[in-house]
């Protein structure tokens, strides 16, 4: 399925004020992959996503979606393929009800109103908020807003989902919901985040960006357990891979393997607390 | 800046102003669509919300103990240009009319015109642009904002006076009304000028590109002198026409009493009502005779008196009784409906 491939070749980009935000980036993303893009604040993650979406155009190099180069001309077609969820859902939910918002995209592609409705309901069901369809955005919780924003992109039926910090500002429960949601998508996914545990859970491959350049590109497990690499890029090991704060052992796939065999109830409680 | 309320205008004035405003708005939309900058639509939307919110940020005016806030007309004109500024003002006023009853649907045209037209289409192109024609400096921003806000608010205030008087809903003599409104709006204008200057200066320091863009984009900026003169002379003719019409309707010069400007057309309707009423009364013959005498006396007393049918004693007694009954009936009806509705909810629940 080569038409789902996204290819970035020798990408360069500077902001109008001269700041070089992206320097010589190259990578390819294949159909069905889930990619986490991580890096410190200001590393250039959001900028990279904007270049993929054709919001900005590169100063050098190119972005190919399928075999099509992202240019002004090919934008309408590219944007039907790629769906992007913004960091602040308030920017994305610009209509007065959830339904109108989710319908905005399909309507722009001049679908029949029946098709629009079907797509809207499908998208809302997918993210689990069909009951909120007539709500005003300001009446949604942070997690619900995020879900609505994701639905507004899903209704366009993109092949690739691109998300900027999908779990920032969410409480643990809402975060969990969004993570489960992300895991349930079969789309090709590109996710930027500082929430490395979320990235570890939802992405198989990781690209680390440092000052506009790719510092590493590899499997999630390899990169996220490489403490030196992460430190040098202004990041830390994900919590779930850090040493147990109680007894200093590393956490395995199923939690910490503690040296002490805990018998009494008190300690058991403590153990439960230290997990996640 | 004061908003006109529905209760203060006549349908004729409201309708005329609504039509005028619709015309200006249609022209503005056309101009905007020619620009083909779809980026402007979200910007207008969010800027409208900004002005709405900024109007609520009060600041203390030094030495007076009172507080002021932004009106926003000039700000919108300067940042968005006249067409988008005007439309944005219109959408703010519409939301205020609907959700707060501030202004009103009938007075909508008046308000958009008073607050949007003079700022965007008079003060901005002819005054602010003139001050900043040789490039932007903070002094020019200050002078331009101040002068344009003052002029726009004076024009707006005068417009309020004219609309109110033409509507004939109040007793205020023209002279006194003007003497009241213009100085108040001089003060408001100074405040508006200051805050507009402050915020524009800030934007100019932090993001000069925004102001440059607004200034360059604007077709109004390089408008030819001929066009300016034409627009001005049209404005003069319109305003002058209004004035002379006003003056001729009021031969005793500045003694413009509302009695006369109220127009005769409106006064005829109550007359008709009066007669119908008399007829019904005579047919039903339920009221004592003196009522009609009083009514006749009133008719000779002049049209203005007739404007108030309840003047005579007989009808005023029945008016009071009937009025009380009407109110009681209305409240009772509402109460009964609510009661029935509650029952229904209870039984279905």
């Amino acid at each position: 399925m080569s038409h789902h491939k996204i290819e970035v070749r020798n990408l360069y980009f500077s902001y109008p004020d001269g700041h070089k935000a992206i320097k010589n980036m190259s990578f390819s993303i294949y159909h069905g992959e889930s990619i986490g893009i991580i890096g410190a604040n200001g590393a250039g993650k959001s900028t990279l996503l904007m270049l993929l979406m054709g919001v900005y155009f590169p100063d050098g190099g190119e972005v190919l979606v399928g075999d099509v180069r992202v240019t002004k001309k090919t934008l309408p077609m590219i944007r039907q393929r790629l769906g992007m969820v913004f960091q602040d859902p308030d920017d994305q939910l610009f209509m007065t009800t959830v339904y109108e918002d989710v319908a905005f995209g399909p309507r722009n592609y001049k679908l029949e109103e029946e098709d629009v409705e079907r797509r809207v309901m499908q998208a809302l069901e997918k993210v689990g908020i069909p009951h909120l369809k007539d709500r005003a955005p300001y009446k949604l919780s942070g997690g619900e807003k995020r879900s609505a924003a994701i639905a507004s992109v899903l209704s366009m039926q993109p092949d690739v989902l691109i998300m900027d910090e999908p779990t920032s500002g969410l409480d643990p429960k809402s975060r969990r919901r969004v993570i489960d949601l992300l895991k349930s998508f079969e789309h090709t996914k590109i996710i930027t985040s500082h929430d490395l545990d979320m990235v570890l859970e939802t992405c198989k491959r990781i690209i680390v960006i440092k000052k506009g350049e790719i510092a590493a590109d590899g499997t999630a497990v390899d990169i996220l357990s490489n403490e030196d690499l992460l430190n040098s890029c202004g990041l830390e090991l994900p919590l779930s891979l850090q040493k147990c704060p109680v007894c200093g052992t590393s956490k395995g796939k199923f939690g910490y393997i503690h040296e002490k065999i805990v018998v009494d109830k008190e300690a058991k409680k403590e153990l439960r607390l230290t997990r996640e | 800046m004061m908003h006109m309320a529905d209760a203060l205008i006549s349908p004729a004035v409201g309708g005329t102003m609504l039509a005028t405003t619709a015309g200006v708005a249609a022209y503005s939309i056309k101009k905007l669509q020619n620009e083909l900058d779809e980026k402007k639509i979200p910007l207008m939307g969010v800027m409208g919300a900004f002005v709405f919110a900024a109007q609520m940020i009060n600041f203390s005016i030094p030495g007076t103990g009172s507080s002021g806030h932004l009106g926003g007309g000039m700000l919108l004109a300067i940042l968005l240009g006249p067409y988008a500024g005007f439309l944005t003002m219109a959408s703010i006023l519409l939301i205020q009319a609907l959700f707060f009853g501030d202004g009103g649907l009938l007075a909508f045209g008046c308000n958009v015109f008073n607050l949007g037209f003079y700022t965007c289409f008079i003060a901005y192109p002819f005054i602010y642009k003139w001050f900043t024609r040789k490039g932007i400096t903070s002094k020019r921003i200050f002078a331009g904002s101040m002068a344009s806000a003052l002029v726009a608010l004076q024009l707006g205030a005068f417009s309020v006076v004219l609309e109110t008087l033409l509507s004939g809903k109040t007793e205020l003599p023209f002279e006194k009304f003007v003497l009241l409104m213009q100085p108040i709006h001089l003060a408001i204008g100074i405040v508006e000028g200051l805050v507009t200057a402050a915020i524009i200066t800030f934007v100019w320091r932090a993001r000069p590109d925004i102001l440059e863009k607004a200034a360059n984009e604007e077709a109004f900026g390089n408008i030819s002198m001929k066009k300016v003169l034409t627009a001005l002379s049209i404005a003069v003719v319109v305003v002058g026409g209004l004035f002379s019409w006003f003056a001729s309707a009021n031969p005793d010069g500045l003694e413009w009493s509302i009695e006369k400007t109220a127009g005769t057309a409106e006064l005829e309707a109550p007359d008709g009502i009066h007669e119908t009423l008399s007829e019904i009364q005579s047919k039903t013959a339920l009221l004592p005779d003196y009522d009609f005498k009083a009514s006749e006396n009133e008719k000779t007393a002049g049209q203005a008196e007739n404007a108030w049918p309840a003047v005579n004693a007989g009808t005023s007694v029945s008016g009071i009784v009937g009025g009380a009954l009407t109110l009681a009936l209305a409240v009772f009806t509402g109460w009964v409906i609510m009661l029935i509705k509650r029952r229904k909810i209870k039984t279905t629940a």
Binding site: - | A5, G45, T88, W308, A330, W335, M338
Partner: protein
């Protein structure tokens, strides 16, 4: 600060009320708009001395309140909030017009009569506007605008403004809270701080506008606004409009309270 929170909660209350499902809510938005306009026009068309003749017009708001199951107290509060502005203008009448009229044997100043008339008209018109939005909501109101051939782009812009008022008022009140924590006991902002304060928010507004534009653009927005299908007018809608209009016009032509009163006083 408090006026900001107030306005916001009022808007949200109206927004909530508009989502109810009563017979009034289901009337076509265009019809409700037109009915309101007829109502306003008729009420406003009374001359400045009329009081009694205006009273039947209270039936309209009362019936809407009742049928649409709207809470009376909070809406009344909103209306009272706007009243001072009108009183400000209306109160000048008694000052300027001292001529007396006889009313039920008592001499009263015409200025006060005018004042009272304005007050009643204002209460009725303000109530009617608020009831319109409380039973329609902004989205359906936008549909009415569309049907009146208001350009879609303008409608979209109104909706965007409406949407972002919430967001911006919250942002502004957060900033004001932060400001007043550092400047306790100050009434309003210090004048010198206002420019940079509002300027900061304005810059963020610009950035937000940019992001909103990108979000719209990424979902295929190219300067056209496509709304969903617009509901057609039904017979019920037309009947609603006709019935109210008829009532308004009759109440305009005939002074109903005086009629009722004269029948009543005559019988007794």
């Amino acid at each position: 600060m408090s006026n900001m929170i107030n306005s916001l909660s009022n808007m949200r209350l109206l927004d909530d009320l508009a989502r109810k499902e009563t017979f009034i809510h289901r009337i076509h938005p265009l019809i409700k708009l037109l009915t309101t306009v007829v109502y306003l026009t008729v009420v406003v068309s009374f001359e400045r001395y009329e009081i009694i003749g205006l009273l039947p017009f209270i039936f309209y708001p009362i019936l809407i309140f009742a049928f649409a199951e709207l809470p009376v107290a909070p809406i009344l509060k909103m209306i009272l909030l706007i009243e001072p502005f009108i009183i400000g203008i209306g109160i000048l009448n008694p000052l300027f017009d001292h001529s007396k009229v006889l009313f039920g044997g008592i001499a009263i100043s015409k200025g006060w009569v005018t004042f009272l008339s304005i007050l009643i008209k204002c209460s009725l018109t303000v109530t009617a506007s608020i009831l319109l939005i409380a039973t329609t909501g902004m989205d359906r109101f936008a549909v009415a605008l569309r049907m009146l051939k208001i350009p879609k782009i303008f409608v979209l812009q109104i909706l965007l403004t409406y949407r972002y008022i919430s967001v911006l008022i919250e942002e502004v009140s957060r900033m004001i809270r932060a400001y007043s924590l550092r400047a306790p006991g100050q009434k309003g902002l210090k004048w010198s701080a206002w420019g940079s304060f509002a300027g900061q928010i304005l810059l963020r507004t610009f950035e937000r506008a940019e992001r909103v534009y990108q979000a719209m653009n990424l979902r295929g927005f190219t300067g056209e606004y496509y709304t969903g299908d617009i509901a057609k007018l039904s017979f019920k809608d037309l009947a609603y409009f006709a019935a109210w209009s008829l009532f308004f016009i009759i109440a305009r032509i005939y002074n109903i309270p005086v009629l009722i009163g004269s029948l009543f006083t005559g019988v007794i």
